[in-house]
């Protein structure tokens, strides 16, 4: 009995359905709360080639919902780790790891290689970026998103008269309209449901079974155990907001994460730390994250601890935060700025991975 016998005997699916999955190439953007169930189910279903794009590392507070990962993976990069775990389970699947965040320069190239994209990212910048790229490249996009106890699922660029995210929301939210960039609470089971719905729609798109959720948006509220479906119509604004060409796409600014944090270069950050007593340079990574940095003037306070007890910063005028890539420190800098509007709070640009970082030499050696 082969691994897929129970699905190939399904009426309407059969060997043909399985062959379609085996020859499919899918890209999962974000290996987080949504990405984990998406990956688990699509790998188990027998997709032939799976790309995973995520520039983040696993931290302890991810574990309630990011079900691929366990305690032993804290501090490890998400995309590589997810691929390694799944490769061990299913050695015949081809995994491609893209251990970076998508941006206007790399998105078209990365997405261009795949038949279908699943978006499980956690910010509007990436959602609009992936949407526009998929419209330009005419790739089906299965988007999932969550907010506290609720979730959304949509299938774009598929079927007759396809719609996209900008038909629903032509412009990205700005400033105050951005629902808390900081992480909000979430019960792990919710992205489990939404991600599993995404995986389901992906299988339907790829194999042609059933009626795909195209041209619709499905809401789910876990507290009420209620689904709500709406039909999406074309919005004349949508076309105007999508870049018309590859060049226009590459020069568009999708940096809308949560109000932009103030960034500082490593050079300046080190200089301030050395010469100003009122400046504090903080390593906000999880304690297990490599490379371990023991350097005079750098203090370690993991992101979660700083969120719980921001008063630890009250004696400093300038707070300089850094992490692996500058992503988490950017988010935290924006949050802390709201708490301490009078202070200068910076995210060190590019984090440890930045070429001019004085801390990245060990990282490079272990990576290559």
């Amino acid at each position: 009995m082969n691994r897929f016998a129970r699905q190939t005997i399904l009426p309407g699916f059969g060997k043909e359905g399985q062959e379609k999955l085996a020859s499919a190439r899918i890209l999962v953007v974000g290996a987080g709360g949504l990405g984990c169930p998406v990956l688990l189910h699509l790998a188990a279903a027998g997709i032939g080639t799976i790309g995973i794009a995520d520039g983040d590392s696993i931290n302890e507070s991810n574990l309630n919902r990011q079900t691929l990962f366990g305690q032993q993976h804290i501090g490890m990069p998400k995309a590589e780790t997810a691929a390694a775990i799944l490769k061990e389970k299913y050695p015949d699947i081809t995994f491609r790891v893209f251990p970076e965040f998508l941006n206007p320069q790399n998105a078209l190239e990365v997405i261009g290689d795949y038949d279908l994209v699943l978006d499980g990212s956690d910010n509007f910048g990436t959602r609009y970026l992936v949407n526009d790229a998929c419209v330009l490249l005419e790739k089906p996009l299965v988007m999932g998103a969550i907010y506290q106890y609720e979730g959304q699922v949509m299938v774009f660029n598929f079927g007759k008269d396809p719609v996209n995210y900008r038909d629903l929301y032509p412009d990205h939210p700005q400033g105050q309209q951005v629902p808390n960039c900081s992480e909000t609470g979430v019960l792990g089971v919710l992205p489990g449901i939404i991600g599993t719905l995404q995986a389901t729609e992906a299988i339907k798109v790829l194999t042609g079974i059933g009626k795909v959720l195209a041209g619709k948006m499905l809401f789910y509220n876990m507290k009420d155990a209620a689904f709500y479906e709406i039909a999406v119509q074309h919005n004349p604004l949508s076309r105007k907001k999508i870049p018309v060409s590859i060049e226009a796409f590459r020069s568009k600014n999708y940096d809308i994460n949560c109000g932009t944090p103030e960034e500082i270069s490593w050079e300046k950050a080190m200089d301030w730390t050395r010469n100003m007593d009122s400046s504090l340079l903080v390593d906000i990574r999880e304690p297990q994250e490599e490379p371990l940095i023991e350097k005079e003037g750098i203090i370690k306070i993991p992101m979660g601890n700083l969120r719980e007890d921001p008063e630890r910063l009250s004696h400093y005028e300038n707070v300089l935060l850094f992490c692996r890539s500058g992503q988490r420190s950017g988010i935290l800098a924006t949050e802390l700025k709201q708490r301490f509007p009078e202070k200068k709070i910076f995210s060190v640009k590019g984090g440890i991975l930045h070429p001019s970082s004085p801390l990245n030499s060990t990282e490079n050696e272990t990576k290559t």
Binding site: G30, G32, G33, L34, G35, D119, G120, S121, D122, N123, F124, R127, G144, A145, I146, Y147, Q148, E150, G151, Q152, D167, L168, Y169, D171, P173, Q176, Q177, V178, P179, E183, T184, V186, P191, M217, F219, N221, Y228, E229, I230, A231, V232, Q233, H234, N235, P236, L237
Partner: protein
Amino acid sequence: MEYQHKRGTPKSRIRNKMETLKVKAFGMVAEKLPEQEFAFPPQTDTAAFLANLYLEYPELKDIKFSLAVDRKLVNEKTALQGGEEIALLPPFSGG
């Protein structure tokens, strides 16, 4: 008749000009409102509905959301006859 009223498609539903609107709020929008689901006085169109909704709940102005009337997304000013279900649908960003 009662069954028809609850389950009928919008076309088969007999509308009464005085019938109130049923508003359903999602996500962040629901947080700014006293109830997730509530009745609202009938309005001539979606623009009037929004204007009056903002008057009553000014906090909603800070949030981005789309409108669906009887489970269909509306992008432009749409006439209302009364009795419609209007959903306030914000985008979610979490993953």
